[in-house]
């Protein structure tokens, strides 16, 4: 099978799956079967591209030309490969978890849920494999729209309000900023194709290029750079599997992935380093890291706390992209992976607690470790990865980011990274610690025996927690994959 066919198949399969889910929607077992089969098949297809990509090939596919000079093209380069692997792999895990969760909560409209999910995954892969900024933008927008029904799934006034914020901010940023940047790029460079070393160097004055960079990075609202981060906490009205895969992995990662793509292939790292806007954005991202962590500390709703934590962690990647040296971008790329596994685990845990005990507030979770030992243990492991402690994968990305900040003498960023790690400890670790080390009285609330969430949920979250640990010991393949990008690595 040629690379192009594989790409087409990877984009098409989830859509076909969505169609199949609607067809067999009346029989839940069959429908979930379709979901799982589609997810597994998709991962196999996406991972079949891994071999060629590591050998330096960049499989590509030109679909059609939308307008003169604006073709729909796809090209799989190492970063996109990584993002594609993450999204398609975690979709399998998430589907397993969803089945347990959605049934335990007896949610309505489950068919719509699974179908929209599949469409969202397809568009996330479209973002991952896009060969030019135009194609990427199209799939970026489809991703926004296809996830809207998932955010408002509950249909309650709160959910609608959250959905409005979600759609409002994401469409505002993408249409009024990113689209302008896209057309600006097209106007000055005559193309929007991604190319090693960028396409903008020398095409316009530094002022114009700086403006474009600002429009891009703020316009990629999914990267949740402050002040455009509020959609992410608002999206927490969604069912937890949505928050887990989309708002910890697919959607937000599509955002920071786009930032990385823009830095690497539209501007080129050398250009980003020389632009004043790059410097400015570095500090905006550093501020976001700290402010979001501080806000996270004040949240009692577990999902909201995790959402702000995500805002903070996403800016690690933006900061890496904007410091624009090989080591920092390597750290940013690895963080894409490490944070995905850790954060999805944390969200899975939040959902499991909700499904088993209908508890959403952190203050009410004291002593829950007795009833949910596996969940809370997984929570502990994932927290370590977010903080960046050894024995969890998160350490590597922070390591490279810190090295990168030293290399380009961004000591402020280094400080922000260190303080943020401390803040992470302060807002994450107390949750599992208090769950296990509580007074007998607090523990008594949860009864005597173990009362975990459905085993499908626990299995899924245990698996991703273990994967976080495994990534500490075996980051090699991913490091090597990213080193294939010219200018990356040491």
């Amino acid at each position: 099978m040629s690379g192009g066919t594989t790409i087409a198949l990877a984009l098409f399969l989830p859509l076909a799956g969505a169609f199949g889910m609607v067809l067999v929607g009346r029989w839940p077992n069959l429908r979930e079967g379709v979901t799982l089969v589609t997810a597994i098949a998709l991962f196999l297809i996406v991972s079949s591209l891994y071999g060629p990509v590591t050998e330096g090939v960049r499989p590509s596919l030109a679909l059609l030309s939308v307008a003169p000079g604006l073709p729909l093209v796809f090209e799989v380069e190492p970063l996109g490969m990584l993002f594609g692997l993450i999204a398609s792999f975690l979709w399998i895990v998430n589907s397993v978890y969803s089945i347990g969760y959605m049934r335990a909560k007896q949610e309505h409209n489950q068919t719509r849920f699974y179908a929209c999910f599949a469409i969202a995954i397809s568009s996330a892969l479209g973002v991952a494999f896009a060969g030019n900024m135009f194609t990427l933008f199209i799939f970026y927008e489809v991703l926004t729209l296809s996830t809207y029904p998932l955010v408002t799934h509950a249909g309650t006034p709160t959910a609608l309000k959250g959905g409005r914020t979600y759609l409002g901010i994401l469409l505002f940023t993408s249409i009024s900023l990113q689209l302008v940047a896209l057309v600006g790029t097209w106007a000055v460079a005559g193309t929007t194709d991604f190319a090693d070393g960028g396409i903008l160097t020398g095409t316009a004055s530094d002022l114009v290029l700086s403006a474009l960079l600002l429009l891009y990075v703020f316009g990629i609202g999914k990267a949740a750079l402050m002040p455009f981060h509020r959609w992410l906490p608002a999206a927490m009205v969604a069912p937890t599997p949505v928050s887990a895969l989309l708002h910890a992995v697919a959607v937000v990662k599509a955002g920071v992935f786009t930032v990385l793509k823009v830095a690497l292939y539209v501007f080129g790292l050398d250009l980003v380093r020389t632009l004043a806007a790059g410097e400015f954005l570095t500090y905006v991202a550093a501020a976001t890291i700290l402010l979001a962590s501080l806000i996270a500390m004040r949240q009692d709703n577990l999902k909201r706390r995790l959402a702000y934590s995500t805002v903070s962690q996403l800016s690690y990647i933006v900061v890496g992209a904007m410091m624009a040296n090989g080591v920092a971008v390597m750290g940013a790329g690895l963080h894409l992976l490490m944070h995905a596994f850790a954060k999805i685990t944390l969200f899975f845990c939040a959902g499991a607690i909700d499904a088993a005990h209908k508890t959403k507030e952190i203050s009410k979770m004291r002593g829950i470790g007795r009833a949910m030992p596996f969940t809370m243990a997984a929570f502990f492991v994932a927290s370590m990865s977010i903080i960046g402690l050894p024995l969890a994968g998160g350490m590597w990305s922070k390591w490279y980011l810190a090295l990168g900040s030293l290399e380009s003498h961004h000591y402020v960023v280094l400080g922000a990274l260190l303080i943020s790690s401390l803040l992470n400890i302060a807002y994450l670790l107390p949750i599992p610690v208090r769950a296990f080390f509580a007074s007998d009285e607090e523990r008594g609330v949860w009864g005597t025996g173990i009362k975990e969430a459905p085993w499908l949920c626990v299995g899924a979250l245990g698996f991703t927690a273990l994967a976080s640990v495994a990534l500490f010991f075996f980051p090699g393949p991913f490091y090597r994959l990213l080193s294939l990008i010219p200018g990356l690595g040491s």
């Binding site: 030309s65 939308v66 249409i175 689209l179 302008v180 057309v183 097209w186 106007a187």
Partner: protein, 497 residues
């Protein structure tokens, strides 16, 4: 024999056919018969305009002398790329609305008057096609009046009694517009002694020395602005669109204002010439200012409408602003962007008005309050509305996105980048007003009307989806649109009178 005859007189037949056909509807009298007849006529008209567009390939212009009298003595029909596009839009929309009209007209208009509807519809079509095809200034005025008078009648056919006042308002405003056009033409005749547009262009004296020409330009500009509902001369439009029968609204919204834009283009570029309009006269600055005002004010008003038809009408005023913005940029890219949007907007607004017409058929109301939860009972209709709405917002893979892309690019290339920013900012208003409808239709509990409603008949759904499908198709494969529009714009900019 016949084929040769048709081929020879294609351009004339395009206009004459609906003109002859209109009175036949009166003779046929019976609702179904006259509908069937009108249907065939509109489809033949569409086929002819497509044939003309194809024939134009490689020729550049097609000229036809009425009765064999050469211009400037006789009336000359003359079409170029721009006119050919507008012909296709007008006759295309006309032929898509026709099958839709059957069910809608049966529900909304007294059966005794059905034949009148089809007669006026064909007359209106004839008028709009004639305006576009003719190369004679006075003839243009005549056709404009044919289309206007018949559209007053069409609007007044609405069952709501407010349709009468709406039609009257449009009559007054439209007459002012037509009068100022005829005054402008008269002044040009005074100066040049000719009514043939190409001839006038050739005979026009050095414009800045002749005050009569300046006044003629102003009158023609005013008349065209009224006809195309350029802000702030748009007040007739919302009332007319709101109270007219659904089929009429869909047809007029997608064609009448587009022909208004065409009249503006025709006079600016082929009679007076771009250099006169934009250098000697400050038309570009005026157009840009009014376009921006339309984009923002009309969009803002649209957000606060509870009548969905009125909301879409205000949205039309805003969208016309985009077309005028493109023209006002006074570059090839800008005019092309305006033309691209002219085509695209016809598709999406036609589709949207048709979708809302389906809702009206089933619930008897187009107010937002009564549309709660309607997506459950009318899923196909509302899905069409959502797609049309996404086009209006300018989401990728829809035609609205293509329009926006080229408008922004044109403003960048003209060095007026702030207009590009204004375009995107104003398109955010569309998100607000479209999403109010989407939320109501999809997430509210069904109202009594909505729960009782059933899906619209296939005869209405199919045409609606044809237009909405075209919104998506031409959003994915825009090469044809973009290419044609650029060729038309290049021809317009080079037209050197």
């Amino acid at each position: 024999m016949i084929a040769q005859f048709v081929s020879q007189h294609l351009l004339a037949l395009q206009v004459v056919l609906p003109l002859i056909a209109a009175p036949v509807c009166v003779l046929l009298r019976r609702p179904t018969l006259s509908w069937l007849f009108a249907l065939v006529v509109t489809w033949v008209c569409f086929a002819m305009s497509v044939a003309l567009l194809i024939r134009l390939e490689g020729v550049g212009t097609i000229v036809y002398e009425m009765g064999g009298w050469p211009a400037p003595w006789g009336i000359e029909y003359r079409i170029g790329m721009t006119s050919a596009i507008v012909l296709v839009i007008v006759s295309g929309i006309g032929s898509v609305v026709m099958p839709y009209a059957k069910a809608s007209v049966t529900a909304e208009i007294d059966p005794a008057r059905h034949y009148l509807f089809y007669t006026c519809y064909l007359l209106c079509l004839c008028g709009l096609l004639g305006v576009v095809a003719t190369g004679d200034a006075f003839n243009l005025f005549v056709f404009l009046e044919i289309s206007s008078l018949s559209s007053y009648v069409l609007i007044a056919l609405g069952r709501d009694r407010r349709a009468l006042t709406a039609a009257f308002q449009y009559l007054v405003m439209g007459t002012i517009g037509a009068t100022s056009i005829v005054i402008g033409i008269g002044l040009l005749y005074l100066v040049t002694g000719s009514l043939n547009m190409a001839d006038i262009a050739a005979r026009l004296p050095e414009p800045d020395t002749n005050r009569t020409v300046l006044v003629a330009f102003a009158f023609l500009g005013l008349g065209a602005a009224l006809k195309l509902a350029l802000f702030p001369l748009h007040v007739w439009l919302p009332a007319a669109y709101t109270h007219a029968p659904s089929a009429v609204t869909a047809f007029l919204a997608a064609t009448a204002t587009k022909v208004g834009v065409y009249i503006l283009l025709r006079f600016i570029f082929t009679v007076f010439g771009a250099s006169f309009a934009f250098t000697a006269m400050p038309l570009d600055a005026m157009l840009l200012a009014l376009a921006v005002a339309a984009m923002f004010v009309a969009s803002a008003i649209a957000i606060f409408q509870n009548n969905v038809k009125r909301m879409l009408a205000y949205s039309s005023v805003a969208q016309i602003g985009y077309m005028i913005l493109g023209i006002g940029l006074a570059t090839t890219g800008g005019v092309a962007a305006g033309l691209i949007h002219l085509f695209n907007h016809a598709l999406m607004k036609g589709g949207l008005f048709m979708a809302i017409g389906c809702v009206f058929l089933r619930t008897g109301s187009v107010r937002l309050e009564s549309m709660g939860g309607i997506a459950r009972t009318m899923p196909w209709t509302m899905a069409a509305f959502v797609l049309g709405g996404l086009s209006l917002i300018g989401v990728p893979l829809t035609v609205g996105f293509i329009s926006k892309l080229y408008l922004i690019r044109a403003s960048f290339e003209a060095g007026l980048w702030h207009f590009g920013v204004l375009v995107v900012l104003s398109s955010l208003f569309a998100v607000a007003y479209i999403w109010r409808v989407v939320e109501t239709a999809y997430f509210r509990e069904p109202t009594a009307e909505a729960a009782r409603a059933t899906e619209a008949p296939l005869s209405m759904l199919l045409p609606t989806w044809v237009l909405v499908g075209a919104c998506v198709y031409f959003g994915i494969d825009a090469e044809l649109t973009v290419d044609t529009a650029f060729r038309a714009a290049t021809a317009l900019m080079q037209a050197n009178p």
